[in-house]
C-alpha cells in the first residue's frame, strides 16, 4: 500500500529521517513506535505528503508523493483519512458539520443522505446524539472520536493516526484502540499509527516499526518485536531508563561541563 525508499529528511543539522526503508501493508495495522524526537511524526508527515523529503521517495498506491503535482496529491488524499493529535476539528462548526465537511466539499450528495452517512459514522464511534454540540463542549477523548468519524466519512483506504491515545484516560484509550482495530477488521482499512504508548501498541498492531533518532532500529510483526532480544528494543518496550539508548542527547562529557577549570 505504502512503500518508503531511502527517505532522508533533515532539519538543520538534526536528521529526522536517516535513509529509511519500510513498507505499510494493505489491510494491516502498522504502528510506528519511538520516543519524543525520534522522527516518527516527521515520517508520518512525509507519508501523507504534508512534508516533502529531502531525498528518497514515498510510494502511495505506486505514486511517488514527493514528485506528484498538487492535483494528483489531492486526488490521493481523498483516499486518506487522518486523525490529528489534537483532533483538529473546526471550532466554528458543530459536530455534525465537522463530519459532513468533506462530503459537502467533495461530493454533491443530497442533504438527507449526508445526514444518514454522518449518523452512521457517529454511531460507529459511539457519539450519536452529539450532532449539535460544538467541539469546545466535548472532552478530549470525545473530540478524538469525532475526529475519527470525520477521518472515515469519505471511506478512505488508509487512515493515519497521530498519537491517537496520548493524553487520554485508560478507558478512552481502550475505546480508541478498539475503534482502530474494528475499523481495520470490518472495513479492511490500512492503518498507520504513530505512538509511544507500548501497551496500546501491542493491543492494536499487526506490524511494528521502532524509530530511534531518525533510524529504524527494528521492524517486524508484533510477535517478533515482543520476542526481540535486541537490547535497544527491549529497553524501549520495557521502558527502562538505563540501557543502550541514552537519556541525554549531548555527546559532551558531563564532568567536563560542570567542572570549573
Amino acid at each position: 500500500m505504502i512503500k518508503v525508499e531511502n527517505l532522508v529528511k533533515k532539519y538543520g543539522n538534526i536528521t529526522a529521517s536517516n535513509n529509511l526503508n519500510c513498507r505499510f501493508e494493505k489491510g494491516k495495522v502498522t504502528v510506528i513506535l519511538g520516543g519524543s524526537g525520534s522522527g516518527k511524526s516527521t515520517l508520518l508527515r512525509q507519508l501523507t505528503g504534508l512534508e516533502k523529503p529531502d531525498s528518497g521517495a514515498v510510494y502511495f498506491d505506486g505514486v511517488d508523493l514527493a514528485t506528484a503535482g498538487k492535483k494528483k496529491l489531492y486526488e490521493l488524499r481523498k483516499k486518506m483519512g487522518m486523525l490529528f493529535q489534537g483532533s483538529a476539528l473546526f471550532n466554528y462548526l458543530d459536530i455534525y458539520e465537522n463530519i459532513a465537511f468533506p462530503l459537502r466539499e467533495h461530493t454533491k450528495i443530497a442533504d438527507n443522505i449526508i445526514k444518514t452517512i454522518v449518523t452512521m459514522k457517529l454511531e460507529m464511534v459511539g457519539l450519536r446524539g452529539t450532532e449539535h454540540l460544538m467541539p469546545s463542549q466535548l472532552s478530549g477523548g470525545m473530540m478524538k472520536r469525532v475526529g475519527l468519524a470525520r477521518a472515515i466519512v469519505m471511506d478512505p483506504k488508509v487512515i493515519f493516526y497521530d498519537e491517537p491515545t496520548s493524553g487520554l484516560d485508560p478507558i478512552s484509550t481502550g475505546v480508541i484502540d478498539k475503534l482502530i482495530r474494528d475499523l481495520n477488521q470490518t472495513l479492511g482499512i490500512t492503518s498507520v499509527v504513530v505512538s509511544h504508548d507500548i501497551e496500546s501498541c501491542f493491543r492494536i498492531a499487526d506490524n511494528i516499526i521502532i524509530l530511534f533518532y531518525g533510524d529504524i532500529i527494528a521492524s517486524g510483526t508484533a510477535e517478533e518485536i515482543r520476542e526481540s532480544d535486541d537490547p535497544r528494543v527491549r529497553q524501549f518496550i520495557n521502558g527502562e531508563p538505563e540501557g543502550p539508548i541514552p537519556f541525554t542527547r549531548t555527546d559532551k562529557n558531563y564532568l567536563d561541563e560542570i567542572l570549573i577549570d
Binding site: R45, L50, Y74, R77, M80, M82, A88, F90, N91, P102
Partner: protein, 255 residues
C-alpha cells in the same frame, strides 16, 4: 563590519518576509478565481468584516463629523466664512478621514480577530487537516477573507462619509446655526466626482492591505500562544502604520 553585517542580515530577512507575503497574496487572489467558488464563505467573511463593523464605524463617523463641525465653525467664523462649513466637512471626510479612520477602526476590530483566528487554526492543526481533506487552505480560508476586505471597506467608507457629513450637519446647522441651504448647497456644488472616486479608491487599497497583513501575520505566526499574541499585536501596529503611509502615497498620486 559587525554592524554592517547585522544591518544586511536584518534587511535580507525583512525582504524575505516581504517576498513571502507577496507570494502569499498572489496565490490567495489567484486561487479565488479558480473554481469551485465558495460564495457562502465570502458572504460570511463580508458579514464578519463589514456588517459587524457597522456600529463602531457609525459612532466613529458621527463624532468625527461633529468635531469637524465645531472646529470648522470656529476656524471659518474668524473669516466670516461659516457658510463654507459644509464644503470643509464633506471634503475632509470624503477625501481623507473617511477612508483612513474607517480602515483604522476595521483594523482594530476585524484585523486583529482575523490574525488570532488564523493563528489558532494553525496551533490546532486545522490547516494540515484541510490539506489532508484535499482542500487548499489558502483557497478555503485566506482568499475569501482578502476578497471580503476589498469588498467591505469601500462600502463601510461610503457609510462613514454619509454619517460623518450628517454629524457635521447636526452640529453646524442645528446647534451652531449655520444656514442649512449653505451647508448642503455649497457642499453639493463643490464636491467633485474625483473627490469621491479618490476616497473610494483609497478604501479599496486599505481593505486589501488590512486583510492581506492580518491573514499573513496569522498564517506565519509561531504556533504557540505567545506567537499568536505577538502576531495579533504586530497586525494592528503594522497595518495602522501602513495605512497612514499608503494614504500619503495615494494622496500625492491622486492630486
Amino acid at each position: 563590519m559587525e554592524i554592517a553585517a547585522s544591518i544586511g542580515r536584518y534587511t535580507l530577512t525583512r525582504l524575505q518576509v516581504f517576498g513571502r507575503s507577496g507570494i502569499f497574496l498572489f496565490l490567495s487572489l489567484f486561487q479565488a478565481f479558480i473554481p469551485p467558488y465558495r460564495f457562502h464563505r465570502l458572504v460570511k467573511e463580508i458579514e464578519f468584516i463589514g456588517s459587524k463593523s457597522f456600529l463602531i464605524v457609525f459612532v466613529t463617523a458621527l463624532f468625527t463629523g461633529m468635531v469637524l463641525g465645531i472646529q470648522g465653525y470656529y476656524s471659518l467664523s474668524q473669516f466670516g466664512a461659516e457658510a463654507a462649513l459644509g464644503i470643509m466637512v464633506a471634503l475632509s471626510i470624503i477625501r481623507e478621514l473617511g477612508p483612513v479612520l474607517c480602515a483604522l477602526m476595521v483594523t482594530g476590530r476585524a484585523g486583529s480577530a482575523i490574525t488570532a483566528e488564523i493563528g489558532i487554526m494553525k496551533i490546532t492543526d486545522q490547516f494540515p487537516a484541510l490539506e489532508m481533506m484535499a482542500i487548499d487552505p489558502l483557497k478555503y480560508v485566506i482568499s475569501p477573507k482578502i476578497l471580503a476586505g476589498i469588498i467591505a471597506l469601500p462600502l463601510l467608507t461610503a457609510f462613514f462619509d454619509l454619517v460623518g457629513i450628517a454629524g457635521g450637519y447636526l452640529v453646524g446647522v442645528k446647534l451652531l446655526g449655520v444656514n442649512e441651504g449653505a451647508y448642503i448647497g455649497k457642499m453639493i456644488s463643490s464636491v467633485e466626482f474625483v473627490d469621491i472616486y479618490g476616497g473610494i479608491l483609497k478604501s479599496f487599497c486599505f481593505g486589501a492591505l488590512i486583510t492581506w497583513i492580518s491573514t499573513f501575520m496569522g498564517f506565519s505566526a509561531q504556533p504557540t500562544t505567545e506567537g499568536v499574541s505577538r502576531a495579533t499585536t504586530n497586525t494592528v501596529v503594522l497595518t495602522s502604520l501602513s495605512i497612514l503611509i499608503v494614504d500619503y502615497i495615494l494622496t500625492s498620486l491622486l492630486l
